[in-house]
């Protein structure tokens, strides 16, 4: 833990990469957002469909589900397309489920009517943090999609809950670093993804000692840094939404 540790891109340890949120990135889905955390670029869309899955039928409530995917050329070395392999990788499933849980924390399903919102997060360019960028971007797409439903008079109330954002923190060479790019992520001792509400509450935390374990103090330090990042991400979402 020498004092001369510097990050490849020159950022401070607790500094986010530059975050850009572009609304209306495409025009067909009700909400369509391009989010960028540095070089990581994810297209997040929210599409509305009438009706709900079988297990929700007749409940009077809505549903939200999410799918995450990498374009084959998003990564440094091209990866085979999952549709051609005929099956979805475990990692893809895992992240799709995470995004779905996170976004369900941002919507009051009881106010959505029996409608389903499909979140799609397609990574155009990957440089670490694709799952966290997906969540932060999908919230903005969700907000836009719900506004469309409200404008159309489909939902009378306000199903949208306050912002939900996500960021990664890691222990790299013993230093707690915020928002890891691929180069840091791949050699981090510990990788922690935090999904947080505007109020600073956790929706999900997933910490993994990829190359080593970690103690309570390190967890505390990582959560502090994550919280700082999340506050900034909420601000970026609000600026993008103009609220």
């Amino acid at each position: 833990m020498t004092s001369d540790f510097t990050r490849a891109d020159g950022r401070d340890l607790d500094q986010m990469r530059s975050v850009r949120i572009t609304r209306g990135f495409t025009s067909n889905p009700a909400g369509s957002v391009l989010i960028e955390y540095g070089n990581t670029r994810v297209m997040c869309t929210a599409s509305v469909e009438e009706g709900v899955p079988r297990f929700k039928k007749g409940s009077g409530e809505g549903w939200l589900t999410a799918e995450y995917s990498m374009l084959p050329a998003a990564t440094h070395d091209r990866m085979p397309r999952e549709s051609m392999r005929g099956k979805v990788k475990g990692r893809t499933h895992e992240i799709s489920r995470l995004v779905g849980r996170a976004l369900r924390a941002a919507v009051d399903l009881s106010k959505l009517g029996e409608n389903t919102i499909n979140i799609d997060c397609d990574v155009l360019q990957a440089d670490g943090g694709t799952r966290t960028a997906s969540i932060t971007g999908a919230y903005v797409a969700l907000a836009d999609a719900i506004a469309v439903l409200q404008d159309a008079g489909v939902v009378p109330g306000q199903p949208l809950l306050p912002p939900v954002v996500a960021v990664s923190v890691g222990l790299v060479d013993g230093h707690v670093c915020l928002d890891l790019p691929y180069e840091e992520d791949s050699r981090a001792e510990v990788d922690l993804n935090v999904v947080m509400t505007e109020a600073g509450k956790f929706v999900e935390i997933q910490g993994t000692g990829e190359h080593g374990d970690f103690g309570r103090e390190q967890l505390t330090e990582m959560l502090d840094v994550a919280e700082k990042g999340c506050r900034e991400l909420v601000a970026a979402q609000k600026a993008a939404l103009g609220v």
Copy 2:
């Protein structure tokens, strides 16, 4: 065939939609292009991989293959993701094969060494003509990828052949129209896709009487209009490539 036929977007019958080609759209693949034919937007990438498929091993020649796909939210109504369905639709297969054949006409495989170029065409937004835009955009991505190989000294000669482009023409309410958007495409009597070289030769023509058949004169008229569009597309490619 009344004289008062007008196109929804006000174009002349033989007028292309606005074509935009953005090189370097993403940074990981050797070639990465966003191509737009009006509202149709396709990300075309060319990734280079050492080695060739089994049937080319030891030939001293390279190979080029292509995959086409629609993002689920690219269309007006969201379509299920093929990776989740576990199988690729016939339409996807058909277009992937067309793109591959078209681009193989733009590369001299014997000068590529035993390397494989993977073309990926991912439709971000669909409004008709996604297969033709894919071909035109992929040529530019291919050119950039081959330049990378040349700069790296991997290929000594010039494997890139002159431009290959593609456009659709259709018979709509009895009128030959160039470059159909979705609205026209879905009600066209005849749909013709033409893949052409800079020299005005055909690489592929596919004409289908979706709601009616067509005669020799109509074919001739459609090919004339397609040729006009193709000349403009070659110009757009060259402008983008700065050649």
Copy 3:
């Protein structure tokens, strides 16, 4: 383009292989035909099923769909069975879709009631032209199946439209040749498949420069030869049907 070009089987350049059509080849489906273009032999059946796919429900119209497949031992070297591989090849999908489009041009769906006709084209022996033989043979099976429906009083009118046939033409060593066997097909510079009505109108044309491109004059010449072949195929269909 020397004058001493001869075809391996001694045919004239614009001569069809011997065409044989055997109706009632099997007894379970409403229409069952064995069609032979020389050594290419395809079993074409038309099966009638009550009801239509979801997207046609309530339309009062019928539907027609087609599936093409090669038996594993149909080719010179045995090919793995697609059912065992668990997925259908792109080529199979592409041809199935072509056959379906071609045959839908031979039936007035609005006169079929809400019934579905399933066309199955199973190649028993392959020697080039399997997709074109499939279309020509399937028309005869379709005619027989519609006659069954009429005899049963299920369809009051005449859903059957005039003959639809298909043939391949190619550019082999610079010569336009009709109805290519495998040996010619595999080395042809250009391969053109033409689906035509009795009236000489195109239902579909698909021309591919597999090893080279082609110009307008060559296209014209190829279409002339294809038209000659198609006229003969219509005659063969009519002879088989006794009309």
Copy 4:
């Protein structure tokens, strides 16, 4: 068990349907046979491939494997194609395995060299007894394929063992009937398939009480009748092979 029981097609209880064996049914595979048990028609081919599966590599021995399949229109009501469903039905697997075991009893793998024989049995028309006809027909195709290997000097010895045949017997309305067509098979109390060598030894017996169980005496009676049928099938094979 009234004495007035008659079979729908007028046969004696212990009488086979008419058996026809056509060699050289198609020309690409080394052996190709059309076998008919009455209205049941199966195309049986034997294709030779150099090399053996991994578990046989280096053994100096050959291998034989078999695949059985129904064409979709072979049955009275069309059945979905397994390649399109993306999976093979249990029944298909079961019969493929049975045919493989039966035919391996007809070949001395140690005299085959490291070659694989692929047996394909594709049912063109189904009227009961498709698995037994497959086995009987495949033996003839196997004999032809081995003759090809011998003529080519690939196998010095005689890998072909004496004939293997198969027939079904059933208990229908309490009567032991030989070679059940579909109508009898579907209502039989007991269904027994017997695979037998020329010497009258069993290679496989599979008896199932579909709608009832059966005792030792009934088994004995059924085996007697099966043995009669098998003798006749061996004679038919030998006649077809001219030995």
Copy 5:
């Protein structure tokens, strides 16, 4: 066939391995049994579900279906998990179908109401005879599940029929041996599986000459020995059920 043949585990030729049946092995399914034939251990469950498959809808009758599977570490060398391979092996299908047929002979579907019983046989440890142990154990699970239905007043009558059991017999070095463990099974000349009712009637017999064929006398001898084993298995079932 020397007189000094001894079995690896010292059993008499016609002696079963030790059979243990543990009811209530798990608590969620209506019937749950662990059955052991020596070292072979199978968990057999019977789960009840309201409703029947489509082909039984409206019949007033119930249905019974079965699935057999090996845990990956059940065998000496771990086998890949079928769910991960994405397809079920032919052997698995074949045994699942056998178990289903056998158990349907133990239930009067007409007295079950429109309910479905799902039999699951999961092999925890494999040492030969897994399919036969599955059948014998599943009967006990079925009995328990039907008792639950009766206690709940769902079925007024008695759908359970008398015991069905299964055992393997084989010809090992020319000796007829009962209940083969893996070591004997893998080198047996003939393998015969017999499914029998309490009354000594056959539900199913499947005899295979894996490395040789067999004659009528050998079949008779094998059936005699199988019958002895089956009587003992029925006694074990009844002891377990306390009837």
Copy 6:
């Protein structure tokens, strides 16, 4: 958070269910353990295979991978078998990956030689906590498998690292509860799974606000309780292993 909150099974809030670990549960794999957390019962095996996956070839290091699965009748309502559905559920993938990461923290791959350890966790009976029980049980199976490798002289050093265990904690009606059974798990506001080493360090933490979010103090309280449970689980592992 009334003081009268009681758990359905009468446990204290920070009390584990009864934990039982049975070594040598089956005999084929190198390590085989049945672990029970109350009514949750998981069979955990560790199988050793020579060689490593491609990405580890030539590294001199070993690999460990894990697969988790539910038997269909493990749950209250039977669930369809993943092998029959032809695809693995996201939840299964997610847990398999978690178990793999957790167990890789318990083995020094550099001391394993180029061998692969396959962990299989098959849930026989599910009552909440199946993923945490899988991890705790798999460690014991891993220890036994490594001992086998050491006894065989395959690994000279000690690849086994100190114990790794896992437990769930949840917020139920506002109370922090240890080791949730299904009934509590399904209605918990927050669900936290903790994987911990003997030294009290985290290998992985996954906290999800299923029906609500949670703050830093609640996280701290949950981690305290989890730590208590983990200490007891390590003691149970050591008792089982006799160390």
